[in-house]
């Protein structure tokens, strides 16, 4: 039970020990235990063997497909982190009064774009001149439409309504009145 406990306690540091990365104080402690604990000693020996066998193995190049996948995964990871960072910054930027400031800036920017869209090339207060001209055009068009409607209605009245309806109605009424008298 005690042996097991030692292994459990040192298990995660055996690798560091065989790689020479364990702090000196812990090395001293572990080496003192190795003389007393056969199981721990066997574990360290096995780790040493595995290490040396690994070292003696020929190095093999990583298959192209695997390497490609690893690079892709790394790029994906970098992208995710960048997006996360951007979202965090946007969140900070859109918090509180900054949200309204940003909305205001966007409105101003859009107004500038719209103003540029109606600008002409002659420089001096061009948008205002264009709008005034357009307003005059609108008035002219409405006047034209109204005028055409009135003229047409006048023609209908004088050519159709009066001779064919009112005059005939008047004549009929005259005849009726005379007959009654």
């Amino acid at each position: 039970m005690s042996d097991n406990h030692q292994i459990e306690q040192w298990d995660d540091r055996i690798e560091a020990y065989v790689d020479g990365q364990l702090p000196q104080t812990e090395v001293v402690k572990l080496e003192a235990l190795l003389d007393q604990d056969a199981l721990l000693s066997a574990e360290v020996s096995m780790a040493n063997r595995i290490r040396s066998e690994f070292r003696s193995m020929p190095s093999i190049a990583c298959p192209e497909a695997v390497s490609r996948e690893i690079h892709r995964a790394i790029r994906r990871d970098i992208r995710k982190r960048a997006i996360k960072r951007w979202i965090e910054r946007t969140e900070i930027m859109l918090s509180g009064y900054r949200k309204f400031a940003l909305a205001g800036l966007i409105v101003i920017a859009v107004m500038f774009v719209l103003r540029d869209n109606v600008a002409t090339n002659n420089g001096e207060s061009a948008p205002i001149a264009s709008v005034e001209q357009a307003l005059d055009d609108v008035k002219w068009t409405l006047a034209l439409l109204s005028d055409a409607g009135s003229n047409a209605a006048g023609t209908v009245r004088s050519d159709v309504v009066e001779p064919l309806l009112i005059d005939r109605l008047g004549s009929t009424l005259d005849v009726l009145t005379e007959t009654q008298n």
């Binding site: 979202i87 946007t90 969140e91 859109l94 918090s95 949200k99 940003l102 909305a103 966007i106 409105v107 859009v110 719209l114 869209n117 109606v118 948008p127 264009s130 709008v131 005034e132 357009a134 307003l135 055009d137 609108v138 008035k139 002219w140 068009t141 409405l142 006047a143 034209l144 439409l145 109204s146 005028d147 055409a148 409607g149 009135s150 003229n151 047409a152 023609t155 209908v156 050519d159």
Partner: protein, 178 residues
């Protein structure tokens, strides 16, 4: 969650701002719109007067009118576009005018425009077409020729317009020549 709310707010603001320009770009899809772009080539002359007011320019005109003429501004809010082509009758080939008139009339009738007013006088000819969308007016087209003023006018007003209001407001303005 706050992040999503902020993004939604931002998107709503952008949509509200951009909604009208998008609609303005789609004026040609409006059922009350009539394409006058071919008239000049069909008549073989350039227009003496050409008016194309819609989208951003129309909104600026409404804003400009609101100050001096609120009635006009109110009327224009129901309008989506105003398009005019004006020609001097004396510069036109009668045969081309007749052929173009037939083409345009056929096109209007094919697109379910209804003739609203047709007057053929000795010196003057007026044809007014209306496109309805249920109980609403989607557009008005006026084709008018007047020998006395030497004018041939093609006019298209796109939008849900009240003709009575339009006539009342139109009476206030003076119509000069082309």
């Amino acid at each position: 969650m706050t992040y999503y709310k902020n993004i939604i707010n931002l998107v709503v603001i952008l949509l509200v701002i951009s909604a009208k320009p998008i609609a303005a770009q789609d004026i040609t899809d409006h059922s009350g719109y009539v394409d006058f772009s071919e008239i000049s080539s069909q008549l073989g002359v350039e227009a003496d007067k050409e008016i194309n007011i819609h989208g951003a320019m129309l909104r600026l005109v409404i804003a400009a009118a609101r100050k001096d003429d609120p009635e006009l501004a109110e009327l224009l809010t129901t309008v989506d576009g105003i398009f005019v082509r004006g020609y001097r009758l004396s510069g036109l080939d009668v045969n081309l005018v007749q052929r173009q008139g037939r083409t345009l009339r056929a096109e209007l009738e094919r697109s379910s425009w209804e003739i609203f007013l047709k007057v053929n006088d000795r010196d003057e000819s007026v044809q007014m077409y209306v496109k309805t969308n249920g109980l609403d007016i989607a557009g008005i087209v006026l084709i008018s020729s007047d020998q006395r003023s030497d004018e041939m006018i093609y006019l298209n007003i796109v939008g849900n317009i009240d003709p009575e209001q339009l006539s009342l407001i139109g009476d206030k303005f003076n119509m000069g020549g082309l």
